[in-house]
Symmetry: C2
């Protein structure tokens, strides 16, 4: 990363992290010794905020407590849409019913999901990810969520806009063949897969 920065190339970090604000995420990486700032991070929550503002949507949030500050400037009164993230412990029966009632109560429900992950591993075991709860609400309301975050095309377009360059001049580097490499390629970028992180020599479509 230091060599890329020293060379004068533009650099943007693309993450699907929705359990914390970019501030927290950046502090964690700085603590590990990385030279990184909040402005260099493209994440699903700010992408969702742009959509909400553009379309004058007032969200009901079903997200992790630590993510709420990302939506500080968004009007959340009298909600007319739902934004779902990896809410973890906030995925309670009551909270899911509440989000459902918002969606079923508006004429043309808008449902924004900060990712479509199936599950992930934590030290105390496997956990259902946002995608599972997204599917539950999609089925109950007979609607389709708009997914922001990788591998959505718009997510990569946002990162490119933040750097001010066209896709042909950018290269995506990541460990996830679907979310990183596939998403970037569909956006017209070239992509490199690193053989670290979640890389395995044989990949299934849904890792």
């Amino acid at each position: 990363l230091n060599r890329i920065k020293a060379s004068g190339l533009k650099l943007q970090f693309c993450t699907n992290e929705t359990q914390a604000t970019r501030e927290k995420f950046v502090k964690k990486l700085q603590g590990m010794g990385f030279d990184i700032s909040v402005a260099e991070v493209t994440a699903p929550a700010p992408a969702a905020c742009r959509i909400l503002k553009e379309r004058s949507l007032r969200p009901h949030l079903l997200v992790h407590d630590d993510l709420v500050p990302e939506f500080a400037e968004i009007d959340k009164t009298n909600p007319n849409c739902v934004v779902i993230g990896d809410a973890a412990e906030n995925f309670t029966y009551a909270n899911l019913n509440e989000a459902f009632r918002v969606l079923i109560g508006v004429e043309k429900p808008v449902f924004i999901s900060l990712g479509r992950g199936r599950y992930y591993k934590e030290t105390d075991g496997l956990k259902l990810d946002v995608g599972a709860y997204m599917k539950a609400l999609e089925y109950a309301c007979d609607i389709q969520a708009e997914v922001v975050g990788k591998p959505a095309k718009m997510f990569f377009e946002t990162a490119l806009a933040e750097m001010g360059i066209p896709p042909q001049q950018a290269i995506m580097i990541g460990d996830d063949i679907v979310n990183d490499v596939g998403g970037a390629q569909r956006c017209g970028m070239r992509a490199l897969q690193v053989r670290t992180g979640k890389y395995r020599s044989v990949h299934t479509l849904h890792p």
Copy 2:
């Protein structure tokens, strides 16, 4: 009902109720003045128990506390499948993760759902039904649930077997065009829709 019984016709009650045992369900109806016994009720939980026994499956239960007694005789040690019902308050983040881990941990996961309802209304508002949580786990595990209960063909076949008659000699009476009428017709029975209960003059496919 009294006239049907007096005529000598055989009678079986088909319910998708999974928040209580048949005993509780029957007591409630008896309290309303209906002449009904447990043996006359076909319900999803006993149908699931038959499947579990036939295929030597040991279920992890994600169901309402009041339904657990229906599974009293089933071996639940070292589970190799999951049975999901309308668990209501038992649909917690922890319980959903636990059911998910059972499913993802076995080689050929069997997932039995006591219905596929989207939502229902209670005095304090709309609630997500079992179908929504079924979809969440289906997506996370990339599997399909086996649905017992109406409108599954096997559910009606069980009711017919309990009466000892072929489908051509039976008629289904219900208020739900999909779960009652459609399900019975696909099973070779004739069906009547009553214009009470959830009947509306215009029906959508997913009421």
